[in-house]
């Protein structure tokens, strides 16, 4: 049965159904409904909602709770995510599973409260200090807010890693019918490493300090092996009309949905356009994109920023064929504008078209 839910609330409900019983957060538009929802819902489910004194405190509460073996989540937007970065680095280093939600708004600075994708670099490059990555999942509709939240908790436990959900203000605020998971998660995977009291076993330590450089290099090597395994196995993308496409549009999140409309219209007009929508931003689905774009004459990256994912697109398909269209500061590209870009690159000539790389 489908119910109508706001994106932010859908993440909250999905988290509860995924077995998350602890949430630590701080209000910031456009993610606040998630906090408000869980402040009602978690106590009802026997869990704890705590409004922290800051995003710094919140992420460190997540560290403690994750280290104690719980499924735990925090959420924020731009400025709050910046404050969480030290904590995220610690979580990655200590290999603590948790879910971090960023409902992106326009930046830099206080920026604005309208939707944006300007935190792509921060999310996919680690964001904090040190050599680390974390899986970043990018929903494109409210249903995916649900599905990817559940997936995020699974990945977090499977790889012992923080996982980020990178949404935006539009997805967070919009309402759509969703199908919630039929069976809630009641049993969590065993976490023998958690600090729960050492009764009947050796003590457990959750730590990120290694003063001996050889030891720290070995820790880094182990982390890199994990990142390599995630890169190999967990890259996901949605493809649309990519077969024989001359132009591949690459977009994620809400922008991909808008771009899909443009691709559909272009197709109807005789332009062989297709869409690749990365669902995981890290690991970036470079193989899927490279295969889809193998015969394409041009690749158009569309983002709500000045061009960030385009760097990953170029790494996947090379520099030459890649074009960019973006809006910033909370402006959302229209499908008409994207179609215009497709036509510009496609250069329609009497029903046929020849690509002119810019």
């Amino acid at each position: 049965m489908k119910i109508l839910m706001k994106g932010n609330e859908a993440i909250g409900e999905a988290a509860v159904l995924a077995g998350c019983r602890y949430f630590f957060g701080y209000p910031i538009t456009p993610q606040t409904e998630l906090l408000e929802y869980l402040s009602r819902r978690l106590p009802e489910a026997g869990g704890v909602f705590l409004q922290a004194e800051s995003e710094i405190a919140a992420i460190n509460m997540v560290y403690g709770a994750a280290g104690a073996g719980a499924r735990v989540m925090t959420s924020s937007s731009g400025p709050g995510l910046s404050l969480k970065q030290e904590g995220i680095s610690f979580l990655a280093a200590a290999e603590l599973p948790c879910v971090i939600v960023n409902v992106m708004r326009g930046g830099p600075g206080l920026g604005g409260i309208q939707p944006s994708q300007a935190d792509y670099f921060q999310a996919t490059r680690g964001g904090g200090h040190g050599d680390y990555r974390l899986p970043v999942l990018a929903p494109a509709c409210v249903q995916e807010m649900v599905d990817l939240t559940v997936r995020a908790f699974t990945l977090a436990d499977q790889y012992r890693t923080p996982v980020m959900i990178l949404a935006d203000g539009l997805l967070g605020q919009m309402m759509e019918p969703v199908e919630l998971p039929a069976a809630p998660v009641n049993e969590l995977p065993a976490k023998p490493w958690a600090t729960t009291g050492c009764k009947g076993r050796q003590k457990n330590i959750i730590n990120t300090l290694y003063l001996n450089p050889e030891e720290l290099e070995a820790v880094n090597q182990r982390l890199q092996e994990k990142f390599a395994a995630i890169t190999k196995k967990e890259a996901r993308a949605e493809e649309y009309l990519v077969e024989n496409a001359d132009i591949i549009v690459v977009a994620f999140g809400i922008v991909a949905r808008i771009a899909k409309e443009a691709v559909k219209v272009a197709h109807a007009q005789g332009i062989r356009a297709g869409l690749v929508r990365p669902v995981t931003l890290w690991p970036f689905p470079e193989k899927i994109l490279a295969a889809a774009a193998a015969r394409a004459k041009a690749v158009l990256t569309v983002e709500m920023n000045a061009g960030q994912m385009i760097e990953d697109v170029r790494l996947a398909v090379g520099n030459e064929r890649v074009h960019f269209y973006g809006r910033m500061g909370g402006m959302v590209p229209t499908s008409k504008a994207i179609l215009e870009q497709i036509r510009k690159i496609g250069g329609i000539v009497r029903g046929k078209y020849a690509v002119r790389p810019a």
Partner: protein, 252 residues
């Protein structure tokens, strides 16, 4: 009692402390360990080590431990305690960690009445990074970042953490103790025990501020350092219970 002083508490691992001669951390670790032993809660205790000279506390305490980012131990302890409310959860923090970078976390953990214990080691400077000025550095005290002595015009005044937190309703027990001589060490242990017992009763936030010495960074011999502490720190940081079930008492 005298005998037990020479038995290593079960709660301490065999690892030798890395602390400098005359440093207070070793004494304070031991007091915490003895209390945990006496209360019989080693297997249900989770400690949080902070960033500072005591960052390696997780090596020395023989129970589950997490090591937190600089200043954030009270938030980490909050996360643990909320998940495991029946466990004993405590933080061990220096004055730079707790009273400077982590001031927001300690104030709010106290205000929330978070049912944790905080062992707050006040040695009037930043030990680990080489003796810089801390929020607890005394007026006129020389440190590597106040080479002419802390100027109150320029750097303001020390923070009296125990007094400040005692103004809040969340704490159930707050005391300031010292370890500059054996009778004081004995009193310090009593306060630490009271704090953990209060946590076990679940009546609120508990904190013991321990005045401690840092001979290396103070540029003194261990015995001189204890005299300096007694002469200079005690007047600025009076010892006593600032919050307790039975009321407040200040030592003479």
């Amino acid at each position: 009692m005298a005998n037990t002083l020479f038995v290593r508490p079960e709660t301490l691992t065999p690892d030798p402390f890395h602390y400098c001669p005359g440093c207070g951390h070793g004494i304070i670790h031991r007091l915490v360990a003895e209390v945990i032993d006496e209360l019989g809660v080693r297997e249900t205790t989770i400690g949080v080590a902070s960033v500072g000279c005591s960052v390696l506390a997780y090596k020395y305490f023989n129970f589950d431990m997490q090591q937190a980012a600089h200043g954030r131990a009270p938030a980490v302890a909050t996360g643990i305690k909320r998940v495991l409310p029946d466990r004993v959860v405590f933080t061990y923090q220096g004055d730079g960690d707790l009273a400077s970078i982590g001031l927001a976390e300690i104030v709010h953990a106290a205000a929330r009445g978070e049912k944790i214990t905080v062992i707050f080691v006040n040695n009037a400077n930043y030990g680990m990074t080489g003796g810089q000025m801390a929020p607890t550095t005394l007026p006129g005290q020389k440190t590597t970042t106040s080479p002419a002595g802390r100027s109150v015009d320029q750097a303001g005044y020390p923070i009296r953490v125990s007094e400040m937190l005692a103004t809040l309703d969340g704490p159930a027990y707050i005391a300031r103790v010292s370890i500059h001589n054996p009778p004081q060490i004995f009193k310090a242990k009593k306060a630490i025990r009271k704090a953990f017992e209060t946590q076990l009763r679940g009546t609120g936030f508990t904190l013991v501020e321990v005045l401690s010495s840092c001979p290396t960074n103070w540029g003194m011999k261990p015995a001189e350092a204890f005299s300096w502490l007694e002469k200079n720190m005690l007047p600025y940081f009076p010892l006593g219970e600032y919050k307790a079930a039975s009321g407040v008492s200040q030592d003479d």
